[in-house]
Amino acid sequence: MVMSDKTPDEGYVKFVFNLTSTIRKLSLYPPKHPTVIYSIKNLYSMLREILDKKDSINIGFSSDNHILIEGQLLAEKGTKLMEGLTAYFKKLDIESLTFKSGVTDNELEAFIRFVLMEPDELKKIGELSKAFLDKGIQNIKIAQFSYIKIEKGKQALEVQGEAIQLLKRLESKIKDFSLGKIHEPEELQNLEKDILNMVTAEFKQKKKLSTKAKNILKRFLLKSEQRQEAFSRLNDALLTAGCSQPEADKLVNKIKAGVSKSLASQEGTVKTGRSEVDKLETENQDLKTKISKLQKEIDLKIASLDKLGKENRSITQEKERIDNIVHHMAEGLVVVDPQGKIIMLNPVAEKLLDIGKDSVGAPLNKTIKDEHLLTVVKNISPNKDGTFQKDIELLSKDDSTKRVLRTSSAVVEDPDGKTVGMVTVLNDITRQKEIEKMKSDFVSNVSHELRTPMATIQQNITLLIEGLPGVLNESQLKFLNIAQDNIKRLKRLINDLLDSAAIESGKFKLRILEANINERIDNVVTFLRQWAASRKISIRTDLLPQDTVLKVDKDRIEQVLTNLISNAVKFTPEGGEILVSVAQREPTDEFPQGAIEISVKDTGSGIAPEHIDKVFERFERAGAIASGIGGTGLGLSICKQIVTMHKGKIWAESKLNEGSKFSFLLPQKIP
């Protein structure tokens, strides 16, 4: 194979890339699929363009997986792709491939179908070039890998060798004969017989005679005493060998003419005879050199075959290793092609989907009862990026048990960016879901069980304090007030805990109704003012000039306000002041309908800068423990959740020892 340093024409390279991707597409899509038709058409027009400029294009494959186009080595770029292409052709033992002008798109497709045949099918076909012709592929020629050629070459060489031996023997005999060394009639007869055999065999095979054979025959006839009889015996021998009379006549006449010419100048003939012998000997030497050269080539090819064998083994081992990993994965793995046909699945997937190994090759929707997985498959659209996750519920074939599978899918693309299928990893999360449900049931049970007795105790104490059953003395009243304060504190803690659990389990829901925001703030401040006053802290409000109605969960918004104001009271020393203000905000990108900002500002101890970002995190108490102020560390995280569920936002600003300001924005209209 001739290699050149020049790089191939870009159009050729494109064609080879296109050929590879077309082969891939044909391997994935059914024959009449639009993608197939389009790819073939596209490839064909590329080829036509190339063949308009020259008669043929040749693509070769070297044993070390290099691709040569018109004898020029394809650059490293796209090596993977090239390996893929070479692999296809190695399967067919194709060493080189020539597209000739006149090739049709049908031939192209038929050819690619050959390339995609399974090894078993290929075996049945037998000789490939013949099968090509049967399928009407006339303008795509292949040369098969060298070791096949070598076999043929060897045989040819053997035949050639025998012929050479015979020629040599006859030449030396003729020499003897010319020198008058052969007299015996029997010997003479044998020589003539040998010569005629050689001549007829060669003539029959090639329909003409080599110079050497012609010379031997002529020299024999020149010297022969029974020349005319010999000519007629030559004629007979040719006919016996199956040549036609005109063919035989032609040869005999030609030889006769040659012989007469030679007889005319006997002297010259002898000379010529000598030089012919010399020439034959030189040619013989050349042939010997050629044989030894071919032998060397054979050795080289055998060595490269060995190398290929080793590579093949290591690839097989690698494949086995990957198969092993996939086989023993704890997760289920399913690979489907773009049509939803299963390409591969591992034992865990078989178990999870309740299907057998024989499902490989079958469409997924026909294989599993529920089509949830298929809806994922349907979502495949080329150029879609990343993975997507989905929980699906599958009933067993007899509907007796239900499994919940978490599927993570990723679209697989080839180097050209075309979708070749989808890989789905399946995790059985049935147990996890059960536990989640148990947890959420527990939360809702406990929430009821804890709140009901608390409400009862609280209402009992309230009625006693109000003096409904009878007027109380001062000490009795004081004890009951302490009990009530503490029951309220306990209630807040339990509510925070249960809200937090509800948020975590996704059961925290809003009840959105219209509410007057000024009224809500007033309501909360009125409720807390007395408690603040008991700590010598005043609460001022700066409300909106006009009543503004927002669509909110008013109980939850009051909860946020209560939380922020209570915190302010807790962290503000005696004599401090708390300002609750409301303001209208102009529309922004974030809040195109405008927003209401509510702030709670205190003159308390403030929050250190390193804590300010963390105050809305769960269980974060930002130095509150050191200051001896009680709380669960849940309040602000619940506030944040409530505001976020209203599509608003909440934040804190603070300076240590100067006070804090907590603010939140509620959109004028929830988008």
Binding site: S444, H448, R451, T452, A455, Q459, L468, D499, A502
Partner: protein
Amino acid sequence: MDSDSVNKILAVDDEKDFLFILEYWLKSKGYKVKTALDGFQALELVKTYNPDIILLDVNMPGIDGLETLKRIRQINKDVPVIIITAYIAEERVAETSNYNISGLFYKDKDFEEGLKLLESVLRTHKKLRKD
């Protein structure tokens, strides 16, 4: 309040203790009160006692508040019903709003607030009936 215009309240809750204090307090405000510990008793009293207003707990064993409400509506479409509940995030509370309820009262709120709600519902309802 003269005896003719005294309103009859039916309070339904499986929590005996809470029901006791609710009844005591409502009576102290001058209402006539009957109580039911479950849905079946409640339905019976809706027929025989013909209350002006019903306070109904959501979370009850047997037939729960929601189911009881559905059946009350089969007997009497108009009687105002206030749902009482211990927890505002109670899922079933949201469902009750499909059955024409007049309000929600949380068990741990001040009874005074509950009284305001009760009185306003009764006023609105009486006005509607007169019209």
